[in-house]
Symmetry: C2
Subunit: 297 residues, 2 copies
């Protein structure tokens, strides 16, 4: 998707939040803010919001000299999620529709996102997840079910640390031998990298690859040639999170986006209110039948 004018105040706010997260020095905050404002004033609005977010977070790492400023937060998020894992694994096993519950939980866990909102409260995670167990996702779950059944190879794009533990629970409900999980190639906000996949035990379950990019989304042209090949060869792509939606909506491919709607722009695009947990299919693939057997070209 392109960057809408509504995204701009939000990107400016995210830059300030991030600067304060990674540095306690007010002069760093001010310098980064002035740079970001200049970038946005010149930016190509045809590119998606993660393009600018990538630039902001690169710059913050450069200014602070810290390679992974969110590492501690990500470790904490993984630990919290892992502590909840046994309970939810049991719930899924006992559910009348284990896949449906696993999808609900994996989408609900998309709230563990340090990019989208100021004052996001980590302490709410267990409570929010508790509610989510009873909150059905909006979208065509049966189309997703059929697509999973028919796909030769499934590429699962993870989003955030912590959330990735719940991605594992969902992947446990998929045909594992046909699934590859992908993480970011380098730190980007609290997005999951290989370290988080290991913390979640995902690497013991399925093949894990990284996309070679440090964008908080999947900017295909910025990804490694190997990742691009895997993306093109997948029969089905499950893309978690709003960053993946922002960067891949409109890309060709049999893509199902699973995320929590976090802003008015994606609310308008999906036709669902902010806060909705959605499973939506890529617009570029609407011609493919609901059986979901489309092979990506």
């Amino acid at each position: 998707m392109k960057t809408h004018l509504e995204c701009i105040p939000c990107l400016v706010r995210q830059a300030l939040d991030a600067a304060r997260m990674v540095s306690a020095d007010p002069s760093v905050h001010e310098r980064v803010m002035r740079e970001v404002l200049r970038w946005i004033s010149d930016m190509d609005l045809g590119s998606s919001p993660p393009v600018l977010a990538q630039r902001i977070h690169r710059r913050l790492r450069e200014v602070t000299g810290v390679e992974d400023p969110y590492r501690e937060a990500k470790d904490r998020q993984n630990r919290t999620a892992l502590s909840l894992l046994p309970r939810y694994r049991t719930a899924i096993a006992a559910a009348s529709d284990p896949l449906a519950l696993a999808v609900q939980l994996a989408v609900a866990a998309n709230l563990i996102d340090m990019g989208a909102k100021t004052g996001w409260n980590e302490a709410d995670v267990p409570w929010e997840l508790g509610r989510a167990a009873h909150k059905p996702v909006s979208g065509d779950l049966d189309a997703l079910r059929a697509a999973v059944a028919n796909a030769g190879h499934i590429l699962y794009l993870t989003d955030n640390a912590g959330e990735i533990v719940f991605d594992r629970l969902l992947i446990e409900q998929l045909p594992r031998d046909r699934v590859t999980a992908a993480v970011r190639g380098a730190p980007a906000i609290n997005d999951a990298t290989r370290e988080d996949a290991r913390a979640a035990g995902l690497d013991e379950l399925v093949e894990v690859i990284d996309n070679g990019s440090d964008a908080p989304g999947t900017l295909l042209r910025d990804c490694s040639p190997e990742f691009q090949r895997r993306f093109a060869e997948a029969d089905l792509i499950l893309a978690k999170g709003q960053g993946n939606y922002e960067s891949l909506a409109g890309e060709p491919g049999n893509i199902f986006f699973l995320f929590r709607v976090k802003c008015p722009v994606t609310a308008a695009m999906t036709g669902r209110p902010v806060g909705t947990h959605v499973v939506v299919r890529s617009c570029a693939e609407t011609a493919v039948s609901a059986s979901g057997a489309g092979t990506v070209t």
Copy 2:
């Protein structure tokens, strides 16, 4: 007050809201946004938020060629407020403490502000005012009462259209022969100008002057020499609204600010939560006793 880094995303959002309010042309919105981002990237954060807001709204008037883009909205706000006037005048007359109720209502009416918030709902005004009648202001009302009793000359700085009708109700409770009311010198958002003072009937009650400036606040150096003289000679200044607070907090003078706290920055400055209706005294005048008889130098 200076512009805090938190003000920046909010100023960017206000610029977008304003551009959409005054023009239906997306290319105008984009052009103005890019300009505003460049301005903020270079701005002196030592100046107050109304300095930038003034520049934004000047530019919008220039780009659209419309001298007073909010005129229609202001007329509507005045009509709504005037329709409520008889009911509240009766309530004030019947109140055990008419001045206290008049202050409560005048501060509550400060919600009629098209600068502070996206999605502000004009239809809420009667309802919100109904609630406000029972919502005491936070601050030293007795100090204000004493200051009014002791002041030789009172300068009352109005803020928004619509709200100015409720300023009239408060001014009816003051010693009218010692009061001068001031409006903006030219259009700035939905701030009140001479036209609104006439619509509210304020000019039949007290002397009305304008400040010679088109800032949505009171930037003293931008005001006319005549206004500056009147400001310096006043024994007591009652300043309505957050824009006047942002621009005058810290200025010397026996100033009482009456407004609704609309953002985290002014919440931190006043020590009151967002949404609080406050009467706060200028910090620069804290040395003056609560009798409020200080003469401004």
